[in-house]
Symmetry: C2
Subunit: 165 residues, 2 copies
């Protein structure tokens, strides 16, 4: 598998490994945004009647590992963005870091041939594995951008958008 991918590297727009690193880079930035929120405001603050950032993070949790588990196992599961992850930022960050490892493990089980396969994620989102994985990343960027506005409105400087370290 490794060899197959490497041999194709010069003709790949993006390799599965690069896609994973791109996703994890964005996840590192989102982690910094969680850290930047004051404890209370992470759970209570919002603008324009929207959800607090903790609720958006719950949505990200509901997508990442459950979605990848379904792609790898090919067993349909229920989408549930209201699971309980605790009441402190520390608990959310611990879950975040667990997911980082699980995402790495699961991603490596998706062969390059599967990205163009059509699936119906959570029994409802029909599209290629590729388009579903792109949605995981895009949706995280979208909500994190909203978190940036919350931080600015709280007079807190968000991390640089290009910092994926």
């Amino acid at each position: 598998m490794e060899n197959t991918i490497n041999e194709q590297t010069t003709h790949q727009v993006i390799t599965p490994e690069q896609f994973l690193e791109h996703y994890q880079g964005h996840r590192r930035l989102t982690r910094k945004v969680i850290e930047a929120f004051p404890e209370k405001e992470f759970f209570n603050y919002s603008v324009g009647g929207m959800r607090p950032f903790s609720e958006m993070v719950k949505e990200l949790f509901a997508i990442a590992v459950p979605g990848l588990t379904e792609i790898v196992s090919e067993n349909t599961s229920e989408f549930d963005e209201h699971r309980d992850y605790g009441t402190t930022k520390a608990e959310f960050l611990q879950k975040w870091d667990q997911d980082t490892d699980e995402i790495n493990t699961l991603w490596k089980q998706i062969s390059v041939e599967r990205f163009q396969e059509v699936i119906k994620l959570f029994g409802q989102y029909e599209g290629t594995v590729l388009s579903n994985l792109q949605y995981f990343v895009d949706n995280e960027i979208h909500h994190r951008g909203q978190g940036y506005v919350y931080l600015r409105a709280l007079d807190i400087e968000p991390p640089f958008f290009y910092d994926r370290s």
Copy 2:
């Protein structure tokens, strides 16, 4: 060229054509967000001391066609997000639609082999053609997510995130 790409399709994580369609799908959504803003608020409204949405769109204009022109021509140009595109939403939307066509024309001139090539965009952003193009899309999603908060704070319902029609 067309044949080369098509023969590889089953083993491509994403083809250049799919990447372009993904980008244009996001651009169609951003266009809906521009349309959703009231005329005055597009240029004047913001939250948390941030830029109005029109200024973010100017940044998107400064990246998309100038960036692709540089990738295709391999001539370095200056990054300038303060160009004048007029003072009405209609003028911004006209520029948006012109760019849609130009992006299609330019993108088709980037061969699949070039995505892994290292460049220094605008003389300063070093990375692969791939990582630069990913930045174009990600940066647009990021700022558009901020535009969603502005709309919500203005009591305006933004378009559905998944609507790329």
